[in-house]
């Protein structure tokens, strides 16, 4: 039987004796106990004997692959932090290992500081892990998500499987599919749940300010910098930084983000010394990131650095009965908040909901339900209660974009320029399923401009 002291021994499985010696020396100098093995068989025997919580594992061993060894280790002890060591040029295999549950990977050559940082990250993760592993597979739905469709069950599984890892998660999906919710779920199920979760919408912040928002600035570093400002990366130290609409990020800043990912250090605007931070990155976009790479709008090296564990959120129209499950759950909850009583959906409403394309996805569904609950008493949602424009979304043969009813000159005559601007922008947003980035591209303005204008209109509307 292994003792606590044994389990704290780091198990190093590396078949090159010189490298074994070098890694062992670096770890021992930092005060760690290390057990070295040169083959998979020796490694597994030592693992059974020591029950090591941290395993440094070379990807290519003489008798088995590192992936097979890691799968055996995690099957027997899912809490183990496996740090994969790989030669330069084997990044794809390393990514495969991360997807299979590795905690982190180190690319040769790496210095002793990088090695010790990886061990320290693993130790922190172990401290925050529950002592007894929870049987999460018995609970298929991952709160706060609602829905049992196969596509979403896959998403829940993926979120759970990345929980033990430090891997970067790249979330894609149409606008309104719940990308931020997904990022929060990854954070909440991870060992970093007790740390901060900081979300930053890269599309909502003007390009000039984004660097300062991410990395912070020092007082006086530019006009208007009247105080030191801590950036999102530093605010997320020990937790998770969620970069939404990552493809909207300026190319220059992408370079700085890449450096941050490579070195885990930030240099606030105006500062001369970098500062080390420990942050897990989750990013999201509603664009096709690979297409953005092909078009030269997104750095390829950054893409591969970020795109370690992709999670795709399916659109609501592909989630089968989820639309009904979500509606029935939310309608009761919203009714309670509004002081009304709603208990169910009429059969015709269910039929309609199943057939609608839901271009705005769950966000659109929530708006529809809120509208119904606020304006009606209940107890059952009927077709007559639904907003009239929703019925226009029925899946009749979709007209070509040019044929869709656009804002006409008649709609605009007699209006102020500001009113016309709002009409045109809202029309573009409606045609793009409320996707700000897509509308911004059509109107050839930055997404941040549209976010600011929308916020100003909402404020003005509230005052009326």
């Amino acid at each position: 039987m292994s003792s606590k002291q044994d389990s704290e021994t780091i198990l190093l499985v590396e078949d090159t004796p010189s490298l074994q010696m070098i890694y062992r020396a670096a770890l021992m100098r930092a005060g760690y106990a290390v057990e070295c093995c040169g083959t998979a068989a020796e490694g597994m025997a030592a693992f059974h004997r020591l029950n090591s919580q941290i395993v440094l594992l070379d990807l290519m061993l003489p008798d088995r692959t590192g992936l097979e060894v890691m799968e055996d280790i995690l099957r027997e002890a899912p809490q183990t932090c496996v740090i994969v060591i790989t030669a330069n040029g084997s990044i794809n295999k390393a990514v495969e290992m991360m997807r299979a549950g590795a905690h982190e990977f180190l690319v040769k050559p790496f210095d002793d500081q990088r090695l010790l940082a990886a061990i320290e990250n693993a130790r922190k993760a172990l401290r925050h892990r529950p002592q007894a592993p929870r049987d999460v597979s018995a609970v298929p739905v991952l709160a706060p998500f609602i829905g049992h469709s196969p596509a979403m069950l896959d998403v829940y599984d993926k979120i759970r499987s990345v929980a033990r890892s430090m891997a970067t998660v790249f979330i894609t999906g149409e606008s309104g599919t719940g990308k931020e919710l997904c990022a929060e779920a990854v954070h909440q199920t991870s060992a970093r749940a007790s740390g901060p979760f900081v979300a930053l919408n890269c599309g909502a912040i003007p390009v000039d300010l984004l660097e300062s928002e991410v990395f912070g600035h020092l007082r006086g570093s530019f006009t208007g910098a009247i105080n030191d400002k801590i950036g999102a990366a530093a605010a997320a130290d020990g937790g998770t930084l969620f970069l939404d609409e990552i493809c909207e990020m300026d190319l220059n800043l992408q370079t700085k983000l890449l450096r941050f990912l490579q070195t885990s250090t930030i240099t606030p605007v105006g500062a001369t010394k970098p500062r080390k931070v420990n942050v897990r990155i989750i990013c999201a976009t509603n664009r096709n990131p690979l297409e953005e790479v092909r078009r030269g709008r997104f750095r390829e090296d950054l893409y591969y650095r970020l795109h370690v564990v992709p999670v795709h959120l399916p659109p609501l129209r592909e989630r089968g009965e989820d639309v009904i499950e979500i509606s029935e759950r939310l309608i009761v909850q919203m009714a309670r908040e509004e002081g009304h009583v709603f208990t169910s959906l009429a059969p015709r409403v269910k039929e309609l909901f199943r057939s609608l394309p839901w271009p705005g996805n769950v966000r659109q569904l929530i708006n529809v339900l809120r509208n119904v609950v606020v304006l009606n008493e209940g107890p059952q949602v009927t077709v007559e209660m639904l907003p009239p424009d929703l019925l226009a979304d029925r899946p009749a043969p979709a007209p070509a974009a040019e044929e869709r009813p656009h804002v006409t000159m008649q709609d605009l005559s007699g209006r102020t320029l500001a009113q016309i601007e709002r009409i045109v922008i809202e029309d573009a947003l409606a045609r793009h399923g409320d996707s700000v980035p897509k509308a911004a591209r059509e109107l050839d303005v930055s997404a941040s401009t549209l976010y600011r204008k929308r916020e100003a209109w909402e404020k003005a509307d509230r005052k009326k």
């Binding site: 078949d15 090159t16 004796p17 010189s18 490298l19 010696m21 070098i22 020396a25 670096a26 100098r29 290519m60 030669a87 330069n88 040029g89 040769k108 050559p109 790496f110 210095d111 002793d112």
Partner: protein
């Protein structure tokens, strides 16, 4: 009179010296000897191995060389690692020849560095 030798050294000495500095005299001696043994072992595989064995040796060499600061050797090993398994014995001998020569150069430099490294 020939032109001065401008060939860059086989090792980045600073990297190797930093590794030796991680421990005491015993580690320095042991690591020096182990590096010599590993490079010699891998050179022997390049001499006599099958394409599969040569590919694996090049892969191992790539990581080892990069870690100890033998950048040129790491780069050459990376190239051989990428192609070794699809080559005929003749082609394999041709691509491994410069690699073996570089290993020899590395072994010479290694012996010099080991001899020169200041004792703690």
């Amino acid at each position: 009179m020939g032109s001065p030798d401008t060939t860059p050294p086989a090792f980045d000495r600073a990297v190797l010296e930093a590794l030796f500095a991680m421990g005491d005299e015993t580690l320095r001696a042991a690591l020096g000897a182990q590096l010599e043994a590993d490079f010699a072992r891998l050179r022997a595989v390049l001499d006599h191995g099958t394409p599969h064995e040569v590919g694996r040796a090049a892969h191992e060499l790539k990581g080892l060389a990069a870690t100890v600061g033998a950048g040129r050797l790491a780069e050459m090993a990376r190239s051989v690692d990428a192609v070794a398994q699809g080559l005929s014995p003749v082609a394999l001998a041709a691509v491994t020849a410069p690699l073996k020569a570089e290993i020899s150069a590395v072994l010479v430099s290694l012996a010099e560095v080991v001899a020169d490294t200041p004792r703690p």
